[in-house]
Symmetry: C2
Subunit: 195 residues, 2 copies
């Protein structure tokens, strides 16, 4: 990571602009600067998002040879054996929140969690940070903020969905918040390293 002018630069390999925006807000108070990149993110099919995130990070690093991060995340619903899990973004595009709500009709166990797996490659390090937020699936979509499954996910300790709570609250409790702050703390402990 380069600490030129006091800011640490990391390439964020993603084509999801929501994620870049969220990450920048979360990292705002930290000394880290994120850059977008056009490098291809190769996502393998795997039930384990840590492996997806690490594989993508290694492939991207082999291409651009710069300090970088890759994030993979998903919604894991207990009564659906972890579905949609690593394929959350595909499932969101295809059947949406209404599809999940339909699958959960007449199911009383509503437990679910969001998990983010963030891999950072920098110098000799390949580090993965996981963040989880537990909660439950709502009876119907509610709220307009956030993106993805936010309108059907009620975080533990709240009675409103992520989309109703809004970004300010979301970005202090979310799976991505928890993964990114671990990354930030780790990065801030490192000495400047050559990429």
């Amino acid at each position: 990571m380069s600490k030129k002018e006091g800011r640490i630069k990391l390439v964020f390999v993603t084509s999801n602009e929501h994620k870049i925006k969220e990450a920048m807000e979360i990292l705002g108070k930290w000394n880290i600067q994120l850059e977008g990149s056009h490098v291809t993110k190769i996502e393998v099919q795997d039930d384990c998002i840590e492996r997806i995130s690490r594989y993508a990070a290694i492939q991207a690093y082999n291409e651009i040879k710069k300090p970088l991060i890759v994030e993979d995340s998903g919604l894991f619903i207990k009564a659906l054996n972890g579905f949609p899990g690593p394929y959350s973004s595909y499932v969101q595009r295809k059947i949406g929140n209404d599809g999940i709500v339909k699958l959960m009709e007449n199911i009383s166990d509503r437990r679910a969690y969001f998990k983010a797996s963030l891999t950072c490659i920098c110098g000799q390090y390949v580090k993965t940070f996981n963040g989880i937020v537990h909660g439950s699936i709502s009876e119907e979509p509610r709220g307009r903020e956030g993106f993805g499954f936010d309108p059907i996910f009620i975080p533990e300790g709240y009675d409103r969905t992520m989309a109703e709570l809004g970004e300010r609250i979301k970005n202090t409790i979310s799976h991505r918040y928890r993964a990114f702050t671990q990354l930030a703390e780790w990065v801030s402990r490192q000495k400047p390293l050559k990429p």
Copy 2:
């Protein structure tokens, strides 16, 4: 492909024993011998099964350097925007046929198709053969033969599901049958080639 003793040998890169068994039955009358392999099949996340199949084939070929085939297939349901598509095997494991039937409740457009995309790498060739079978989603799972989504798929021209029709009929009309027979015809036209 090696034509030693008159049989052409191709490695079939898959960990799905149902698929090996089906392919062997389909190719029974052709001069092709399939071998299993322990090489890792790297499946990327992509809405397009041709790209998944080609990427996996190239990765496997780089590892084993032998003539090989890789198959990727999926069930594409029109009213669900193509879901479960390339993630059919994951979706089958997680929500099963009952999950799909639940998603299709109160939906009158039941149209769907199975598609198989088969990539063969051999000598200087990277060839992909696609097979499609059109049909519809049944109101509930029926039948015990076959595997995967066979119990909820009624092929066009029939009133029974693939699982009710049984393997003998399935293996003359299925997406895999259509892809494998194109492969077999192509292979039989080639001169013996070094891998």
